[in-house]
Amino acid sequence: MASTATLRKPVSGFRISRKMLPYVLSLPALLVCIGILIPFITAVIYSFQRYRLSQPWARQFNWGENYLNFFTDPAFWNTLKVSLLYAGITVTLELLLGLGIALLLQRRSTVNNFISIMLLLPLMIAPALAALMWKLMTNPSFGILSYLASLIGLHDFRWASSPSTALLTVVLVDIWVYTPFIMILLLAGLRSLPTQPFEAAALDGVPRTFVFFRITLPMLTPYILTATLFRLLDSIQQFDIIYAMTQGGPGNTLTVFQVEAYLNFFQSTNVGRSAALMVILWAITYFLSNIFIKNWLRLRERARGEA
């Protein structure tokens, strides 16, 4: 192809060799992002240091001490527990709800399409702002949800400000924001399934539960996996909703990884511990994202193939 292209002189003044072209095209984007790798390496180095902003003179390498200390640190185990609990609960509930709603909206009709577009709106609201919306609705003195709770006998239901219901409240906000994400992915998946197996099953009079568990669900699995992993990756890193709603409180009820690292850095100025927390979270997400990307690629190829 290169030889035919040189038959006539190209219009542009200078020529970039064909071999170099893709590198030249992608280099600027890469350079902008590469700057981020330096703070990443810095963070890893910090995680192996005793480093407090309040005692800069005492800064020195302590190698694995920050990590070893975690084993006997109840605050760390709390962080791990809350993070996993938060991710587990939100993703499970969002998956069930999202699948349910997608099934309800599966048939293409004006009403269903309209509803599915409307349901996208919470997903388009900044999670931090969504948290503020729910904060207004759960305000003890005028919040509509506090009022509704009092109607069913839950007087003085404290929502995010009580340790026993704080997790429930932020999970509720997360569900409100992110269920639509799973819903639209699964809805797109459902609508792209081939119709023949369903027609055949209908002809044979196969019971609907059987169709669902033996045909719909297996065929939908790649979509479910991708949506779940995608959400799991984001959910285990949740910061915006929790920070905007409670700043990790009350007490340390909601100090998930990123909130704990943020508070360690800015409040207790313990840079070493904060960096070690982030490196552990990074290891978890790296592991998850490798599984995710494999699934995602398979799905992407399928989508491209159908195009």
């Binding site: 981020i36 330096i38 309800l104 850095f265």
Partner: protein, 285 residues
């Protein structure tokens, strides 16, 4: 599906109604609240019947809030302007950098291309605070800590991977034969890129840009960590506003309404592309 009983229809209707109420009610309620004074907001039982007032919006737009305790300055309009400036600039830069790169990844399988593309994608999934916390120190040394430039740079971490992967998919959908034909006619690759590839991928590029805008607008943690008070976007500004004004609930509600309107409007406008964009091109809508 044809044999749906009345009972099933009713159950479906109830379920759908509950779903719509759960997801729409908060938006509706905050919208109502933004037109109320504190008196009607604090009334018990809460009511949807009230005399609407524009005073909350007026206070935000003029930046002056008159209360019994005196006048309070609100910098919310500044936050709104920051959000617009940061998001528009970040997306513009990400498009200039990302579209050619996406074209390179789609058309040329060069050495290391997949590795580079995946490295860029992996930025989307790494915990942001891992790099943000050391970055605060680098920004101080580099004199970037109080600049839009620094923020726009880190916003590329949100915008670039999104644009790269979505636009790449659109380029891959264009048959390479069309481009070859044009090149054989003696045109340079750049003319081919500009006259053939760009227009054909145009809608996809626009959709990716809109989505990147929404994500940049909705970002919270980057600006929370790196932006000084006068550079903060609405997400951080609204939170600060809640802390500073405390009990001005009507204004908080109207600040939220103003903050979410742009993204909601764009989402409705670009909804056809949302599925593809949100799944980074894995699922077609």
């Amino acid at each position: 599906m044809e044999t749906t009983s009345t009972l099933e229809k009713t159950l479906r209707l109830i379920a759908l109604t509950l779903v719509v109420v759960f997801f729409m009610f908060p938006i509706f309620w905050i919208f109502l609240m933004s037109f109320q004074t504190n008196e009607t907001i604090l009334a018990i039982p809460p009511s949807v019947i009230f005399t609407p007032t524009l005073s909350n919006y007026a206070a935000l737009i003029t930046g002056k809030l008159t209360t019994a305790a005196g006048t309070l300055d609100i910098a919310f309009m500044r936050n709104l302007m920051n959000s617009i400036f940061l998001s528009v600039t970040s997306v513009a830069i990400a498009l200039v950098l990302g579209v050619p790169a996406a074209y390179a990844f789609a058309r040329h399988k060069f050495k290391g291309s997949e590795d580079i593309a995946f490295t860029l994608l992996s930025f989307r999934f790494a915990p942001p605070l891992l790099v943000l916390l050391p970055l605060t120190q680098y920004f101080q040394w580099l004199g970037l800590s109080d600049t839009y430039f620094g923020l726009i740079w880190v916003y590329q971490l949100i915008c670039l991977p999104l644009i790269l992967w979505i636009v790449r998919g659109y380029f891959e959908d264009i048959s390479a034969d069309v481009e070859y034909a044009y090149r054989i006619a003696g045109h340079s690759w750049f003319a081919t890129f500009r006259k053939i590839a760009l227009p054909l991928a145009g809608p996809g590029i626009a959709a990716a840009g809109l989505l990147a805008f929404i994500f940049a607008w909705n970002n919270f943690v980057f600006a929370l960590v790196l932006a000084s008070a006068d550079k903060q976007p609405v997400t951080v500004g609204a939170l600060a506003f809640v802390t500073s004004s405390g009990i001005q609930y009507g204004q908080i509600a109207s600040a939220i309404v103003l903050s979410v309107t742009p993204t909601l409007a764009l989402a409705l406008y670009a909804q056809r592309y949302l599925v593809e964009g949100l799944s980074l091109g894995a699922v077609k809508g």
